[in-house]
């Protein structure tokens, strides 16, 4: 008895958990980083977009990939990203592309979102493989004969496994669709190289395939709207520092000075989040998910300010106030002229109609609801579904449903199914 008792205590004290991570590999490539390599003109990237057949590397990435370009602005620098999305294990590539003499270099990393597999990738488009056409000043030149070839590797290993993409067809674009990335781009649990609901994550979202983001808003003690999902400070979201309990117990200055998010970065204000979306990304849609019970006037003021700023810039940007429950719904109805405020209602379709919401957004567990979706669309509204993850679910909602957008933790697979549809 005594021995068992001591044994149980020792086992309990020695218990441990395994930590998983998927660190972005070092992508340095001497040739790519060399001085002569120049930035690729916008037009070239646009021409590269399309659906590609994977002719080498199918064992890892499957038969087909979608190529999409995006950008992020950091200070005076603009970084152009070339992303590939494939169906197999929800794989994606995030690369930069540069012009080098008469060919194009593509350098970056790949990741499988269904696990932690990652590695480097180095690709080239030679003049003979279509770079000539891409550089052509004729905007109508297509990428029909483009072949992107190179190597990929696993982890930090030097890439040496052949990989090749051959242009197959242009993107599907017939029906406009929003690909909305959850929590600014993805959750901490997905081991992305940025914290959920951070500025860094928002900067990553477009390269993951998103056309818009959902961000969670809470209020600090001094009523500053900030991006934070949970009610409390906890080690799922922030690095341990002794600050505990509800986030609303601390002022913004206190949080800003001391809190570091779990995967890096600080807790941004809603203003910083919207500023980043407007000025630093190509994102065109924002779902502000209101996570607190209280007046919405500050959120509304920022929504109005940034939609006006976007309009002044000529940039398409729609910002909706998300209404997830009855409390927020009632608070929304207190806003003057609420019927003219862009909003998204997660409650019954009748409430979306009563609030004159632009979007009705049911949870995916309620199924396709094609009749309800059609009815709401007949009123001139749109319908988004949340939060749809996994290839099978996304494919079902994309191809069998009638929704106008999907909110997902895995925007790359939504992008794949959207752009690759025939």
């Amino acid at each position: 008895m005594r021995i068992y008792f001591l044994l149980i205590m020792i086992i309990s004290m020695g218990s441990c958990k395994r930590d998983f991570d998927a660190p972005v590999p070092d992508t340095s490539w001497e040739l790519f980083d060399a001085a002569p390599a120049g930035i690729l003109p916008h037009g070239v990237m646009k021409k590269m977009e399309g659906v590609y057949t994977i002719t080498k590397g199918t064992e890892t990435f499957g038969p087909l990939a979608v190529l999409k370009w995006s950008y992020t602005k950091k200070g005076n620098d603009t970084i152009y990203n070339v992303s590939f999305f494939s169906e197999t294990d929800i794989a994606y590539f995030i690369c930069e592309a540069k012009k080098h003499d008469d060919y194009i270099l593509v350098n970056g990393y790949w990741r499988k979102l269904s696990g932690t597999e990652t590695g480097r990738v180095r690709l080239t488009i030679s003049a003979a493989s279509g770079a000539d056409h891409l550089f052509s000043s004729n905007p109508n030149t297509a990428a029909n004969d483009v072949i992107i070839s190179g190597v990929y590797g696993s982890g930090e290993n030097v890439p040496d496994i052949p990989l090749e993409f051959a242009y197959a067809r242009p993107h599907y674009q017939a029906m406009p669709f929003e690909i909305i990335a959850h929590r600014g781009g993805g959750r901490n649990a997905d081991l992305l190289p940025a914290s959920e609901n951070s500025v860094e994550m928002i900067l990553l979202a477009a390269s993951l395939g998103a056309t818009g983001v959902e961000i969670d808003v809470r209020m600090t003690k001094d009523e500053v709207p900030i991006l934070y999902h949970d009610e409390s400070l906890n080690e799922r979201l922030v690095q341990k520092n002794g600050m505990l309990g509800p986030i609303k117990n601390f002022t913004y200055q206190q949080l800003n000075a001391t809190i570091k998010l779990k995967r890096g970065g600080k807790i941004p204000t809603l203003q910083e989040g919207l500023q980043t979306i407007l000025y630093n990304t190509p994102l065109r849609y924002v779902w502000i998910d209101v996570k607190y019970d209280g007046p919405l006037d500050k959120v509304r003021a920022l929504q109005e300010q940034f939609m006006q700023a976007a309009a002044a810039m000529g940039k398409p940007l729609e910002i909706t106030i998300g209404i997830p429950d009855e409390d927020v719904y009632n608070n929304f109805l207190q806003l003057p002229g609420y019927q003219n405020i862009p909003s998204l209602v997660e409650l019954e379709p009748e409430k979306a109609t009563a609030a004159n919401a632009r979007i009705w957004a049911p949870m995916f567990t309620k199924g396709l609801q094609n009749d309800e979706v059609a009815a709401i669309q007949a009123q001139g509204r749109r319908a988004f579904v949340w939060t749809v993850d996994g290839a099978n679910n996304v494919r079902k909602f994309m191809y069998e449903g009638k929704f106008n957008g999907i909110l997902s933790n895995q925007p790359s697979i939504v992008a794949y199914y959207y752009y690759a549809r025939l």
Partner: protein, 199 residues
């Protein structure tokens, strides 16, 4: 979900207590007693503090520790009881990027169901689980206070030296762990142990 967690802890404690009581009824009953342990000492915060280096923190890991424990001591090897007390996990002072001072203190009040067993005449081991009522006090750009309930556990070993028939002086080495917030302290206490009720 949190409610379920506490419900299961309570259920487990009750079930164990009932099983123990049922087992007791089968034998000839000996002396039962309630024993109080009143202790005070020092604690050293042993888990990773996680205080951000960019704050240039001055971390204080030593703190005072007090505890009050009441154990039901039947005529069996295993005893059961409850423990509470007051302790500080850690505190630190820091400076922000413009040199303003700040301070953060993390205090805890445990409420634990404990089991104990005498491993020799004078040595006893203790283990228990329950909750820690944690409080963060922040003094930076104004004062803020925030509370959190964390599930947790403890383990201890104590040595008792008899001072009288029902009175002992003890020393105890104990580990107090608020598991949910990964805060843990190793404590050393002096104890006065008094058997205050027998039947």
């Amino acid at each position: 979900m949190r409610d379920f967690k506490y419900f299961f802890i309570l259920l487990f404690a009750l079930q164990s207590f009932v099983a123990f009581a049922q087992q007791s009824e089968k034998k000839k009953r000996g002396t039962y007693a309630l024993v109080a342990y009143v202790g005070g000492g020092v604690g050293y915060y042993l888990t990773l503090a996680g205080v951000p280096a960019y704050l240039n923190p001055q971390v204080s890991k030593w703190s005072s520790l007090t505890s009050l424990r009441v154990m039901w001591q039947p005529d069996h090897l295993v005893r059961v009881g409850v423990e509470t007390g007051k302790m500080q996990f850690l505190s630190y002072r820091f400076k922000d990027s413009v040199g303003n001072d700040g301070r953060i203190i993390v205090n805890a009040v445990p409420l634990l169901v404990e089991w104990s067993m005498a491993v020799s005449k004078r040595f006893q081991v203790f283990a228990g689980s329950g909750v820690y009522f944690l409080t963060t006090k922040m003094d930076y750009a104004g004062k803020s206070r925030s509370n959190k309930l964390s599930i947790g556990w403890m383990a201890a070993i104590s040595y008792l030296h008899p001072l009288g028939k029902d009175l002992n002086l003890g020393t105890e080495l104990k580990w107090m762990d608020a598991a949910e917030t990964t805060d843990g302290s190793l404590g050393f206490q002096l104890q006065l142990v008094y058997r205050f009720l027998k039947w």
